[in-house]
Each structure stands twice: as C-alpha cells, then as structure tokens.
C-alpha cells in the first residue's frame, strides 16, 4: 500500500467516523464556543455559559437519539471507528445517551441551585462538558490508549469540579485528596496497560483478545494476572470500589452536593461501561484475527512493522491441533477468573459501603457510602454476565442489560437525592442529618419525594430501585451465583437501617430550635425539578418493559450472539 492509498482510506474512515461521533463533536464545539464567548462583555451577557452548556448538552443528547437507535428500526451493528480506536454500537448509544442526559440534568440543577452563577460559572460549565466528553469516550473505548486518555479526561475536570468552591477549605482539601488518589490509581492503571500491551503486542482490544485466546500469555500468566489486577485498580478507583474508595466520602463531603451527585452517577456509569467494555473486550475474541486498519485484503503483503511481526510469532503454528477448543478453554478460564474477581470485589464493596454508611451524620457522607454500596450492586451483574458468557450468552446479555437498566434508574434516584440535598442546603445552610429533623411538618411534599428516593435506593417495591434490584438478582440466579445473591439480599436488609434513619429523622423527630425555618414548596422551580426526578422513581412500576428492551438491545451487540 502506498502512502496515498493510506491517506485516502484514512480520510474515508474519518468521514464515516465523524458522523458516528456527532454528539461528542457537539460537546467539543460547545466547549470552544463557551471559551470564545468569555472574551467579550456583550457575548457574556447574551449567551451566559449555562445557557450554552444546556443547549450543547441538549443538542448532543438529541443527536444521540437512543429512541431511534435502540428501538430496532435502525441497524446498530458493531463498527469500529477512527481506525479502531473507538467502537460504535448499541451499547455506545445507550451509555452516551445516559451520560448526556445526566449532564443535562446536572447543568440544569446547577443553574437552579445557583452553583453555576458564581464568577467562575464559565469555568464550571466548561469543566462539566469536558468531563462528560471524557466519560462518553470511556463508554466507547476500543483501544488501551483511549481507555487511559478517557479515564484521565473524565477525571481531571472532576478533580477541579470538586474544588470549585474556591473559598471553602473543605472543598479544596477534598479536591486535593481526590486528585492525589486519582493520580496514583491512574499510574497503576497505566502500568497495567503497558504490561498487557507489552505481552500481547497490541493495544487494540479485539486484537488483544485474539492473541490471548491464541495462548500468547501462557508463559507470562503471572504478569497477565498482575496486569489485569492493576487495570482493575484504576477502574475500582473510578467505581469507588473497596479498597479504593477512600477518596469518595471525603470528596463528596467537600464537594457541593450537585457535583457529588454528578460524580456519583455519571462518573460511575462511565466506569461501569468501561468495565463491561474491558471485561468483554479481553475475553471475547473475534471470530477471525482482526485486520490492522490499513491492511485491506488486497494489500496485506506490504505491511511490515513491529506490530504485524508480533502477530506472526511462532505460537500460532505450534497450536494447530484443536486450536479452536484450546482457544475456547483459555477464554473460558479468563472469564471464570474475571467473574470471581469482580464478584468478590462486588460483595466486599457492597457490604462495606452499607456497614460504613450506618455511622454517618452528614447526609453527603452517608450518600457517599451509599454510592459505594451501589457500585457493589452494579458490579454484581457484570460478574454474572461474564460467568455466563461461555455457556449461556443470552443470559449474559440479559445480565448486562440488568446493569444498564439499573444505571438508568440510578440516575434518577441519585440525582434526585443530591438535588434535594442541594436545595435544602440553600435553604438552611446545613448538610447534617440532624438538621433535617421534623421537616415533614413544614415541607411535607419534599419529604415524601426524598423518602421515595431513599426507599427506592433500598430497593423496596413499588419504587424504581426495586426493578433494578430485581433484574440484577435475576441475572445472579440465572448465572447460579447464589452466594453473591445472598450477599446482595442481606445487604438490602442492612441498607434499610441507614436510609431509614434519614427518613425517621425527617418524619418522627421534633424540629430543632437552632435551625432556621424551612419551608420548601413543591410549586416552585426547585420543587418542580425534584418532582420531575421523583416521578419516574414512583411511576416506573407501571410499565418498565420498554426501558428494559432498550437495555437488552444495547447489550446484544456487545455480547455478540
């Protein structure tokens, strides 16, 4: 292949890729536009950053159009874009839509609660969109380089967002802790990435999977396991899974409630998407050896660089007998290993989060531990899905679909909870649970909404959280992982304690004398915002088949059966 041909095919690929990448492009454009509008006083006035950010995120969400792509009318076959760096399939579409929707909710919330009106409003909006862009990339990554870049791109703005309250010492401290911890985790993850790339000679996920299934790593099993665990460190940090959760309560306590809500939902959703991408990516080799981008069939002969040499190392030739069986064995072994690692991590995370939440007196810390516990719940279906991929691909895709449904429900629950905390903070200037005492007497509507959200987090029917728990537990039963199911079940009962504590304080306890009067009405803009987020939590029981179908559609292409 000559240079010209290469350029031609790259151009063709890029044009096609850009079309699939439109929502992210809109985000990029909005960021640029926001930076430009800051330059002039007139544009600052006409186009305030929150308006631009809302419009940008809204447009991106509209273009992401899950209602078109996931309904089955448009084909959403798996397609690698940007020369195999990213992947575009139904899974991408689902997570992109969830992430953009969360971003939209967050920007609106920040506007209503006044967070983005401060002098650093433009910075704030830029950071949010930047983080959203990184998170979208996390959900689309198909290459270890992109994995690392996306994680960093999502993390760095998050560090700053946590410290956005400039005069607040706690906020700065939280930001510092988050950044230091994040940097450490990223370093470990990068090391793991380099080990894997070094062993397999590629950073392209399907190629890695193919080579691993060919047995390229059999001589370096220990190194491979180490590399896998190191990558898990980075992911566990983003997921705030035990034992890499220490930053989470501190960061949430220091950050403003709105930011904490955004991080707890969007950042976690993106990390879960990446977890699924990597876990499936490493353990499901494509049917045939993936071709390097420029190696179109007619031009194979001319390709000769280090990577293609690596692909023809002798291993392939020595393993001719029953190669497919051995491949399947190796893949199954990796899957079992990953299922156990993720399952144990999920069980520990879930139990620890729920136990630690019990002693908290600050509502944000309490919810921080709650998000840790929920990270555990949400890792459970991943473990179940991986465990089932060999024997029962349909069940595996249903398990992943359970995760997707839970993530969507979680958006409403956690954004709702943090929004309520933010509005109450605006009213009374406190985030201590004790100061919520007796709220029911002055603001009954809000207490009903908050209680519904908290009980939904427990997973009580008929609230939305129950549907999430049900599908996750269903996946575990299908996979036969009863031990994890019992852990999840017992944890549900434990978690009741601390959620109920908040409800009890709000409804049973007398109002404290030291607190300024608290009258929140539902018929106000914050009230409507809370209602909009609570309504799906309460009403989803009526019909959730459609959402589950979307989640199912999103997972079919990933598992690929």
């Amino acid at each position: 292949m000559n240079y010209e041909q290469l350029v031609q095919s790259v151009i063709g690929d890029t044009e096609n890729s850009l079309r699939k990448f439109l929502p992210e492009l809109i985000l990029c454009a909005t960021i640029l536009l926001m930076l430009l509008t800051r330059l002039f006083a007139i544009t600052r006035k006409i186009l305030p950053p929150w308006l631009l950010a809302t419009a940008g995120a809204g447009l991106a969400f509209f273009l992401a159009a899950p209602w078109v792509h996931l309904s089955g009318e448009v084909s959403t076959a798996r397609e690698e874009i940007f020369t195999g760096m990213l992947v575009h399939d139904a899974f991408t579409i689902y997570f992109r839509a969830v992430l953009l929707f969360t971003t939209l909710l967050f920007i609106v919330l920040a506007r209503i609660s006044g967070l983005s009106d401060q002098e650093n409003g433009p910075d704030f909006c830029t950071l949010v969109l930047g983080a959203a862009l990184g998170m979208c990339l996390m959900a689309e990554a198909n290459h270890l380089l992109i994995v690392f870049l996306a994680v960093e791109m999502a993390s760095v703005p998050s560090y700053t967002l946590v410290g956005i309250l400039k005069t607040n010492r706690k906020s700065s401290e939280a930001s510092m802790k988050y950044a230091v911890y994040g940097a450490g985790a990223a370093g470990v993850m990068l090391y793991g990435t380099s080990l894997i790339a070094g062993i397999t000679g590629s950073a392209h996920l399907p190629t890695i999977a193919w080579r691993l299934s060919e047995g390229i790593g059999t001589d370096y099993q220990l190194v491979l396991v180490l590399a896998g665990l190191m990558m898990m460190v980075g992911l566990a940090f983003k997921l705030s899974a035990v034992p890499f959760h220490f930053w989470c309560p501190d960061a949430f306590e220091g950050a403003s409630a709105e930011v904490a809500g955004f991080l707890s939902v969007a950042s976690k959703a993106a990390a879960l998407a990446l977890l699924v991408r990597l876990v499936i990516g490493f353990t499901s080799p494509p049917a045939a050896e993936p071709k390097r981008f420029e190696m179109k069939p007619a031009m194979v002969a001319t390709a000769s660089d280090a990577a293609s040499n690596a692909s023809t190392i002798p291993v392939v030739h020595t393993l001719e007998v029953k190669e497919s069986d051995r491949q399947a064995d190796r893949v199954a072994g990796m899957r079992t290993f990953l299922a156990w690692v993720i399952g144990v991590l999920a069980a520990i995370t879930c139990t620890f989060g729920n136990l630690a939440a019990y002693g908290q007196t600050n509502i944000k810390r309490l919810l921080a531990y709650s998000t840790i516990a929920h990270a555990g719940y949400m890792m459970m279906p991943v473990a179940a899905g991986v465990a089932m991929m060999t024997a029962n691909p349909v069940g595996a895709s249903e398990a992943f679909a359970a995760l997707l449904l839970y993530v969507l429900i979680y958006v409403f629950m956690n954004m709702g909870a943090f929004a309520i905390i933010a509005f109450i903070r605006n009213a009374i200037g406190s985030e201590e649970i004790a100061d919520y005492a007796g709220m029911v007497r002055s603001s009954p509507g809000w207490v009903v909404c908050f209680s519904a959200i908290l009980f939904s987090l427990v997973g009580l029917p008929p609230l939305a959280g129950f549907m999430g728990k049900l599908v996750i537990f269903a996946g575990l039963v299908d996979a036969g992982m009863y031990w994890l199911l019992f852990v999840g079940g017992i944890n549900t009962a434990i978690s009741l304690f601390y959620y109920l504590k908040v409800v009890r304080v709000m409804t049973f306890d007398p109002e404290p004398e030291t607190r300024p009067p608290l009258r929140l009405r539902l018929a106000s803009i914050p009230g409507l915002y809370v209602l909009v987020l609570t309504a799906p939590v309460i009403l989803l029981i009526v019909q959730w088949n459609g959402l589950y179908r979307w989640a199912e559609a999103a997972c079919k292409t990933v598992v690929g059966f």
Binding site: L460, V477, A493, R504, F508, N545
Partner: protein
C-alpha cells in the same frame, strides 16, 4: 384476551389508593371530613366484597358457589405486563383467598371506624391507611408472583409510618423492628421467587394444565401458544419461564423441574430451598416462634386501629402464603419438612400461651395470644397425615380447613380484643392488668361485649374460636399423638390466661388504677364497631358451614392435588418394586432400590391422562370428611 373481571377487580384493589388523591385535595384541618371520606371508601370496598359473596347475584366479578366453579379459581383476568420477564397483571380468587379478602375489607372498615380518636396528622394517617388497604387487598387477589411480591411489600411502608408516627412511647423501636423482620423475610422470598422462575419451563405442561393454570384462555389457543413457544427446533433450549403462581403449582406437582439440586452436586433440591426460604418469609409474618419477637412490640406500640389491622389481616398473609404458595409449589419439600412445620406450630402455641400468661400489659397479653392462636394455623396446615398405603387425606383436609377457619376466626376475635383494649386505653391511658378491676359495674355493655369476644378468642364452643381449634387438634391426632396432646393442653393454658385477664380487668369489687372518673359507658361509635364483630363471632361459631361453603371446596382441592402428587410418587415406586419382585423375588434388593430411588429423588413424569383423572376425581368424589366436620360442628352447637 377478553377479561370481563379486569376492571371490577382492579377498581376494587386500587379504589383506596385512588381515593388518597381525593384526600390530598381536602383541607388539612377538616379532620372530620377526611375521616368520613376514608371511612366511606372502606365501606364501599366492604360492600363490594359482600355483593361479590352473595349467592344469586351474577355479574362480571362475583364468587360463584356453583358446584363446578366453587373449587376453582374464579373471576380470573390477566393482562401481559412486562413481557421481557413474562410478568402478567394476573388476578383471581378462590375459596382460600376470597374469605380473606372479605375479612380484609371488613376489618379495614372497622379499623377506619376505630380511627376517630386519632387527632395527629389526620390527613397523612388516612392516606397511609388507604394505601395499606390497597396492598392488603392486592396480596389476596394477585396470582402472579411478581405482582404478589409488589403488593406484599407495598404494605411495609405505610405500616412502618403508621406504627412509627402514631404509635406509643417505644414506637420507633417497634416500627423499625417490624420493618426489618419483614424486609429480611421478603428478601429471602424474592430469592426463592427468582429461583423458581429461572427453573420453570411452561412448555412441559400438558394442554389441560396450561388451560387450568390460565396460561392460555382456552383449549383452542393452546396450539397457537405452543407454536409461539416451540419445544423443539432451534429454540428447544430456550425455556419459557413463568411467574404464574398457578402454573408454578402445576410444575411443582407434576414435573421434576424443581427437583434438581442447587448449590452443591447432590445436595438439597431447588424446591427444598425455595420452600425453606418462602416458609421463613411467611412464618415471620404469621409470626411463629422464634421469629415472632417483632409482633408483641409492634402490637403494643401501634395505635388501636393499626393493631386491629395487624392482628386481623396482616398475620393472615403468612398463613395464606403457606397454603397458596409453599405447599402447592414445593410439595416434595413440604412433605419432607411436615414435621418441622408442625413442630414450629406447636412450639408457637405453647410458647405464646405461656408468654401471654406472664404478661402484665393487657395489650401485650393479647399480642402473645395471637402468637399462640396462629400456631394452630401453622399446625393445621402442616399435618400431612395422608401416607401410604391408604392415602387418606380426610384428616389433613380437616386440619387445613381448621387452619383456614382459624385464620378467619382469629381475624375477628383478635381484632375485637385489640379494639376492646383500645377502648379502655382511650379512657384511662394505661393497660396494666393489675390496675384494673370492677369494670363490669361501670361499663356493663362494654364488659358484656368484651367477655363475649374474649370467650371467642378462648375457643368456647358456640363461638368462632372453637371450630378452628378443635378441627386442628383433631387432625393433629392422626399425624402425631404427642403433638395433638400438647396442642389440646394449650387450650387449658388459653383458658387460663384469658379467664385470669377477664377476672383482673372486669370482675372484682372496684377499679384500682388511675383516672377512675374517665370510665364512661361506651359510645355509639364504639359499639357499632364491636357489635358486628360479636355477630360474626356468634354466627361463625353456631353455623360454621356458612364459611365452609365458600372455603372448603378450594381447600380440599388443594389437599387433593397434593395427595395426587404424593400418590404418583409412591405407586411409581411400588409398581417398580412389583415388577422386580416378580422377576427376581429378591426382597432385599427391592427394598434397597426403593430406598435408593427415594433418596435420589427420582420422580416419574405422569401421563397427562392420569393427571386429568386426578383433577376430576378431586372435584366429584364424595368424601367422608364433611360428616366428621359436621359432627364436630353439632357438638359445638350443643356445647
């Protein structure tokens, strides 16, 4: 699918919930109006159930006493709800659930009437009360496991707040204890539900069974259903799971889908685990020793009307779950564990009675009497006395009928007892048994009613409590004489604590506690709640057949189905033995093989024809059992 009963039953269940929206619009300070509207709603619900019960009225949703319908599921409707998980909006009623439905509506109405003394946050109280009623009605009508579970859990939250906000001094402790116990039970139940769901496969059922389980509306649509869910070809190993309780019963009784072992190779079967998990969940609600400890706290701290609901309705859900779900779906496990079930029942009876004897608080004594009385229910359900070779199910039927009767009777008497305790508590604000006395002189009408209701609870012949107790004790004799003797002995204990309490509270020369001036005769509102309970206590005691007419065909049907299952297990083994005997005449080997085949849990698949035969016989056989029951009843009348 044509569902004539869809809207009537939906309206019945969700009317209270819909009425809460109306309540929200009413002015917050007009307590009287809010209470009246709520009472009106509960009255409508009760009247609707009564109309459904009346013979001679035909319409979309009514309970038919015709011979060919009375034992079956009636007024069934189903609508596909969540097709991804085969979840259906599926309701119906039979002789087991319908009396409990009427009881729920009845107690709900009386409890709302008893709510007039509530003056704190009346609007919130009424809203929660009506939501609770929707949950209770739904549990008894739901035939889809998912729907059942949702209704089951929907009751939790209102109950928690009703105890926690309007309760007594230790209300928060009692409320959270209630909540935690029930939640733990229901989480176990959820696990069992999912286990059953993922191991079920509807395609193995015969055409008749599919129709009987309402998977398809009629014989004509079976073929269409089969082609939509093919059992061969490419989709052969894609099972068709189900949450349909009736279908799960069929699967549990006629296939071996729930007989595989889980957790470990060769370990206990799926149905064994499902039974244990479900049974724990239900028995927490009943409640039986050792998971009963939430009940005395919840009862004592709850306000009077909520205590009535708790004792009158919520406890019955445990028993209902056992008879509707545990036994029919997991017969093998139920048979293996019959002793455990009976033992738990008897321990509850004895423990509850002794504990009641020791109480100083009037309400706590009544609460422990509930533990004791519900022990009869568990015992009556558990006496699986139909064994080889005769498979005589008469005594087990007697036990189950007794248990069901006991549930209704206890619903009336214990709700009455809690109400009557509440009446004096409202006046003198204490409940210490030792600080009463001489109420007969000051409140003669009230004392007369109270003595009647307490005697009904005691099980005095001629009142409702007697029938259930005597049937259960009699049936237990055939299962185990020891258990029967112990349970008969409990009757003496019951008499002891109730008579002693009556003596200390109502008799004696003078009232010894505080606020003697407050002991005024009961008001018309109060007696209008107490009198219906008294009437039911007497009617059911004198003419129990009025209830058995509705109830026992379905109960017998359930028992017959289980005995059918049991017979299929045993003859299979026997027939096998005969063959071998003829061939080898080697007795030892036969026995060994028999034991082996039992321990392996090998189950024979019955031919559809055999099943059909079984169902028919169940409904047409004239069984000797009614005579024995009638004899008992006549005795009761004479006594």
């Amino acid at each position: 699918m044509d569902n004539p009963t869809l809207w009537p039953l939906t309206a019945l269940v969700f009317l209270p919930a819909a009425a809460t929206l109306v309540l929200l619009l009413l002015p917050r300070d007009n307590h009287e109006l809010i209470k009246r509207v709520s009472l009106f709603v509960t009255v409508i619900v009760f009247v609707a159930t009564v109309i459904m019960a009346l013979p001679g009225i035909t319409g979309a949703a009514h309970f038919s006493l015709d011979a060919d319908a009375v034992a079956e599921m009636q007024a069934v409707f189903q609508v596909s709800w969540i097709p991804s998980f085969n979840i259906e909006y599926f309701m119906g009623m039979d002789g087991i659930s319908f009396p409990l439905l009427v009881l729920t509506a009845f107690i709900g109405m009386l409890a709302m009437g008893a709510s007039w003394p509530i003056t704190k946050h009346v609007k919130a109280y009424c809203v929660l009360f009506l939501l609770l009623e929707t949950g209770m009605l739904g549990v008894f009508l739901a035939l889809d496991f998912f729907l059942f579970y949702v209704f089951w859990e929907v009751m939790l939250l209102p109950m928690y707040f009703l105890i926690g906000v309007w309760g007594g001094p230790r209300r928060e402790y009692a409320a959270i204890k209630f909540f935690l116990y029930t939640l733990l039970g229901s989480v176990l139940m959820l696990i069992a539900i999912l286990m059953l769901y993922f191991n079920s496969d509807l395609r193995q059922l015969s055409d008749e069974q599919l129709v009987a389980a309402h998977v398809v509306p009629d014989q004509q649509s079976v073929a269409a259903w089969r082609s939509a869910n093919p059992a061969d070809g490419a989709a052969a190993d894609v099972p068709r799971h189900t949450f349909n309780i009736l279908a799960l019963q069929q699967l549990g009784q006629t296939t071996d889908q729930f007989s595989n072992s889980v957790f470990t190779e060769g370990g206990k079967s799926i149905q064994w685990w499902a039974f244990v998990l479900l049974f724990i969940g239900f028995v927490i609600k009943v409640p039986s020793v050792p998971v009963h400890t939430w009940l005395p706290d919840a009862h004592v701290e709850a306000p009077t009307p909520i205590s009535m609901i708790l004792a009158g309705v919520l406890l019955k859900m445990g028993g209902y779950g056992i008879i509707r779900i545990c036994y029919p779906i997991c017969p093998e496990a139920a048979y293996d564990l019959a002793w455990v079930v009976c033992f738990i029942g008897v321990v509850s009876m004895v423990y509850g009675a002794f504990a009641a004897l020791a109480q100083k608080d009037f309400k706590r004594m009544v609460a422990y009497s509930s533990v004791s009385h519900m022990g009869y229910v568990v015992l009556g359900l558990g006496v699986w006395s139909a064994v080889a070779p005769s498979f005589n199910a008469d005594y087990w039927k007697m036990g189950m009928n007794g248990a069901m009767f006991q549930m209704i009777a206890h619903g009336i008497s214990s709700a009455g007892m809690f109400f009557l305790v509440g009446v004096i508590y409202d006046r003198v604000h204490h409940r210490e048994l030792d600080k009463f006395g001489g109420l007969f002189a000051k409140m003669p009408v009230y004392s007369g009613i109270a003595i009647l209701i307490f005697f009904a609870g005691l099980g005095l012949p001629g009142l409702c409590g007697f029938i259930g107790e005597v049937l259960v004790v009699l049936s237990a004799w055939n299962f185990s004489m020891v258990l029967a003797i112990i349970s008969a002995f409990v009757v003496i204990l019951t008499a002891a604590y109730i008579l002693w309490a009556l003596q200390r509270v109502y008799l004696g020369p003078e009232y010894k506690g505080p606020h003697p001036e407050a002991l005024t005769p009961i008001t018309p509102r109060e007696w209008s709640i107490a009198i219906p309970l008294c009437i039911f206590a007497i009617v059911l005691g004198v003419y129990p057949q009025s209830l058995f007419n509705y109830m026992s065909p379905s109960v017998d049907h359930t028992v017959d189905a289980l005995v059918e299952w049991q017979q299929r297990q045993a003859p299979a083994a026997l027939a096998e033995d005969d063959d071998v005997q003829r061939e080898n005449a080697d007795r030892d080997r036969v026995l060994r093989r028999d034991v082996e085949s039992k321990s392996k849990g090998e189950r024979q698949q019955p031919a559809p024809a055999q099943v059909r035969l079984g169902w028919n016989r169940a409904s047409h056989d004239a069984l000797p059992e009614p005579e024995s029951r009638r004899a008992a009843v006549t005795q009761a009348g004479k006594g």
